[in-house]
């Protein structure tokens, strides 16, 4: 048995949690592999409400063409996935992943009593509570509370942290570069301030919050700067915002970070006006960037342990508006990408356009069911600790 497998078996099998036995911690060879034994999740959020109907197109459906005289994508333009559904023509690279059996497309994902406000709907997706409830912690943040010990267990490639990564006790880390934090704090005075704060009793108000954040930051900054060793030029990634972020994620994973969740936003999907122009470009960027990510992880052997989730806060109105765009809608499609999919391909039927909910697609799959499966089946954790409603497995992940 190889060492790597030995540790995987020990930590996942015998102990059942990701905590590594203390006696293995200090060993040099451990540090090389520490991160790679564990499953990772990469979340790519399409912000602004991606129009799912022009992403996965029901090209045999007259209702789709009747309601969208300006912005529909014609049958001969789409990349056919089956007899009814086809991909946006700008997603050729994504189609290759689909053909390779690396993608599951789940249609009509949403939640009961949907909200058409970006912020509220995004909050609902981030917090995974009922749409009439409010929570200050996100689903991944609560995962951290229960199962992780460091803020760098979850990284958001951004200058600010999303609600999804805010726990009750612990927050993920928002960062743009791995060594920026460390450089900033490497100063005698700050080290002294941190040391003093570590021995002080901190209160619950903003003053305490500042010191707690400082202490956590210092611990994680050190870890990230020291662990980020793979620094290649990533020429295969598009030189776009998303491409660069995913290139960083790839480097971090290949460097062996113990980070379990990476969170990335792809912005600009709020297509009220001239949708085709903006959305096509964004989807092309998405398709190329994700494909580059998958290929780089496949090459390094990390793809086996990586799952990519792509979602948006809502889909858009089926009928186009007066300005060649679409307004806020309800249910939408969602993608899971990786090697551990039970039945890759199209998971369920495309949206039912003849039974709309006030002009919108009704939901058939609760998004929390997808989270539930990711927590239970992908991470092997107890999802009921994190999501208050319970679900049965969709049978997508293995």
């Amino acid at each position: 048995m190889k060492r790597r497998e030995f540790i995987r078996n020990t930590s996942l099998g015998a102990i059942g949690t990701f905590f590594i036995p203390e006696f293995l911690r200090g060993m040099d060879w451990m540090n090389l592999d520490e991160g790679n034994q564990f499953r990772k999740l990469i979340v790519i959020q399409l912000s602004g409400g991606n129009d799912g109907l022009n992403t996965i197109i029901p090209f045999e459906n007259d209702l789709y063409y009747n309601l969208r005289p300006q912005i529909s994508i014609s049958k001969n333009e789409v990349i056919k996935l089956n007899d009814e559904l086809g991909l946006n023509p700008n997603m050729g690279e994504f189609h290759k992943l689909f053909k390779d059996g690396l993608v599951s497309i789940v249609n009509s994902v949403g939640y009961p009593n949907p909200n058409r406000s970006h912020f509220r709907s995004m909050d609902i997706w981030h917090t995974a509570v009922d749409s009439n409830q409010y929570s200050k912690s996100g689903w991944l943040g609560r995962y951290m509370d229960s199962y992780c010990s460091n803020s760098h267990s979850m990284l958001e490639l951004d200058s600010q942290l999303s609600l999804a990564l805010h726990g009750k006790e612990r927050n993920g880390l928002a960062l743009e570069q791995s060594d920026k934090l460390y450089k900033t704090l490497r100063d005698k005075y700050f080290r002294d301030v941190i040391e003093t704060a570590e021995s002080a009793e901190l209160n619950e108000d903003n003053q305490g919050y500042l010191y707690k954040t400082l202490i956590q930051t210092n611990q994680s900054a050190k870890y990230l700067a020291e662990t980020h060793t793979v620094k290649d030029n990533n020429l295969e990634f598009p030189q776009t915002g998303l491409g660069k972020k995913l290139a960083q994620v790839s480097q971090f994973i290949r460097s062996g970070f113990s980070t379990q969740v990476y969170y990335v936003s792809h912005n600009g999907f709020d297509s009220h006006v001239n949708q085709r122009k903006s959305q096509d470009k964004l989807l092309e960027d998405y398709s190329k960037s994700v494909s580059a990510l998958v290929q780089s992880l496949e090459k390094s052997g990390d793809l086996e342990l990586t799952l990519i989730l792509t979602f948006s806060e809502f889909g858009r109105r089926v009928e186009e508006n007066g300005s060649s765009g679409t307004d806020h809608g309800k249910a939408n499609n969602l993608f899971l990408i990786g090697k551990n999919l039970k039945h890759p391909g199209i998971y369920n039927d495309g949206p039912d356009l003849s039974n709309l909910d006030d002009g919108d697609i009704s939901y058939k799959v609760d998004f929390r069911n997808v989270y539930w499966d990711i927590l239970n089946e992908w991470f092997g954790k107890d999802a009921s600790k994190i999501i208050s409603k319970s679900f049965t497995s969709l049978g997508i992940l293995s």
């Binding site: 743009e176 700050f190 919050y209 009220h272």
Partner: protein, 449 residues
């Protein structure tokens, strides 16, 4: 009033005071100070654009024309920042900043930006009805929330939804999805002309009956605003936002009820509301002192007022706003800029702690700016790395002269330094009085007001 209260009052209804200013303002009441303040409108120099018929220009020159026009939004940004740093009308300036956050509107056209900002300036401590109505009619808001696309045959609900959710009632509070759709109909046809003048397009406006909050009638937009203001929930929502911004991030329900009554009975008089806060004993209670986290603008404006920070290079001010994520006239979304704890995470805190020392020693700032695709789609194509001096100038003499005899710990922390940090500071060696000050303002407590 005692120093501690004056510092707290103008930390919140201003951008902090120097020792001399504390002395000056302790002799006059808040109401007197507010009544003495003037409305200062912002006026851009747009003479080079006047009288140009851009439609007759060849395409290349037309593009050039609009590019130059767009550049002027930066002037507007800098003028506003300059007002915050130098104006004596500090209450007004703070209220302006609040309302720009409340009516978060991303503005590209400087002409519309000027109109928008002056609507706020004229009404910032006036009547809320005028404010919300004029904002709804402003060219910037009409563009931002797609009111232009809102027409009888094809209503666009964007503005109607945000009017209820963000500007008046609060999310899902006393309105339904159906109300939003009907409200959108009442605002159909609201447009602006080229230079920003408001008009209602008669053919695009829906003259039919609308049922809003259970009442049916041929309501227009202005009448809808009155229907909303009739609801006490609207007064409560505005008071809640003001409380969170000026008093404490966690609302005290008893105080909120008190403010709501004052605001509602005064028919939405903003001046009465803020004077009531400043005259309440609870405003000065211990738990409210230093309880809020500074926004980046509050941070730089406060620091600049204290140390007379200037910069000849306008780019540095803009870069600061970009790096710290609060760009004037460009809030990230309709919800406005971040607030309170949202400003602080592991990424921003170390930078914010270092900032005073970087500025006051003219040290190098080692940061990469985030690409901004809205401004320039090519921004992400180039390496955005840089390390450079921001080039701020500062005036230590001014600082020490203004604050002669002040305990700096009182000046900066208003008595709120924890015992451990106080002990640490007392023990920590420093060689010069400058170093002492820099050490103090590098403490996490300096992030608070």
């Amino acid at each position: 009033m005692e120093n501690r209260k004056i510092i707290h009052l103008y930390n919140r209804f201003g951008f902090g005071l120097t020792g001399k200013q504390i002395k000056k303002l302790s002799g006059i009441s808040f109401a007197e100070k507010l009544k003495k303040e003037k409305v200062e409108e912002i006026k851009l120099d747009l003479s080079e654009f006047e009288g140009v018929d851009f439609r007759s220009l060849p395409e290349k020159e037309r593009k050039e024309f609009f590019k130059k026009l767009r550049e002027k939004i930066k002037d507007l940004n800098l003028m506003w920042l300059d007002r915050m740093i130098h104006s004596e009308n500090i209450i007004q300036e703070k209220m302006n900043l609040f309302w720009h956050h409340h009516f978060a509107c991303s503005i590209e056209n400087p002409l519309y930006g000027q109109q928008f900002t002056n609507v706020i300036r004229k009404n910032a401590t006036g009547n809320f009805r005028n404010l919300v109505l004029e904002i709804s009619k402003s060219a910037a808001m009409i563009d931002f929330l797609h009111a232009k696309q809102n027409e009888k045959s094809h209503p666009n609900e964007d503005f109607a939804r945000e009017l209820c959710e963000l500007y008046t009632l609060g999310r899902d509070n006393e309105y339904t999805e159906k109300d939003v759709q009907e409200i959108a109909r009442a605002f159909t046809g609201w447009r602006h002309k080229m230079l920003g003048e408001f008009i209602v397009h008669p053919k695009k406006h829906d003259e039919g009956n609308k049922t809003i909050f259970g009442k049916t009638g041929n309501f227009n937009g202005e009448e809808v605003i009155d229907l909303i203001l009739e609801k006490k929930a609207c007064a409560e929502f505005i008071c809640k936002n003001i409380y969170e911004y000026f008093v404490h991030p966690k609302v005290n329900e008893k105080h909120l009820k008190e403010l709501t009554d004052v605001f509602y009975t005064s028919k939405y008089d903003i001046q009465k509301l803020v004077i009531h806060i400043a005259e309440s004993n609870w405003f000065y209670e211990e738990q409210n002192i230093l309880a809020k986290i500074k926004s980046p603008i509050e941070f730089i404006v406060g620091l600049s007022r204290q140390f007379k920070i200037e910069n000849e290079n306008p780019k540095s001010w803009l870069l600061y706003q970009k790096l710290f994520d609060q760009i004037l006239y460009r809030p990230p979304n309709v919800k406005g800029w971040k607030v309170d704890q949202e400003w602080i995470d592991s990424n921003s805190l170390p930078l914010r702690l270092r900032l005073p020392s970087i500025i006051l020693t003219n040290a190098q700032l080692d940061l990469a700016a985030k690409p901004n695709y809205d401004e320039n789609p090519l921004d992400g194509m180039k390496e955005n790395k840089f390390s450079q001096k921001l080039g701020f100038t500062y005036d230590w003499e001014y600082f020490f002269e203004q604050n002669q005899g002040m305990d700096f710990k009182d000046l900066f922390f208003n008595g709120k330094l924890s015992p451990q940090m106080k002990a640490f500071i007392d023990k920590h060696p420093f060689e010069t009085k400058y170093e002492e000050v820099i050490q103090l303002i590098s403490l996490p407590e300096f992030q608070l007001i």
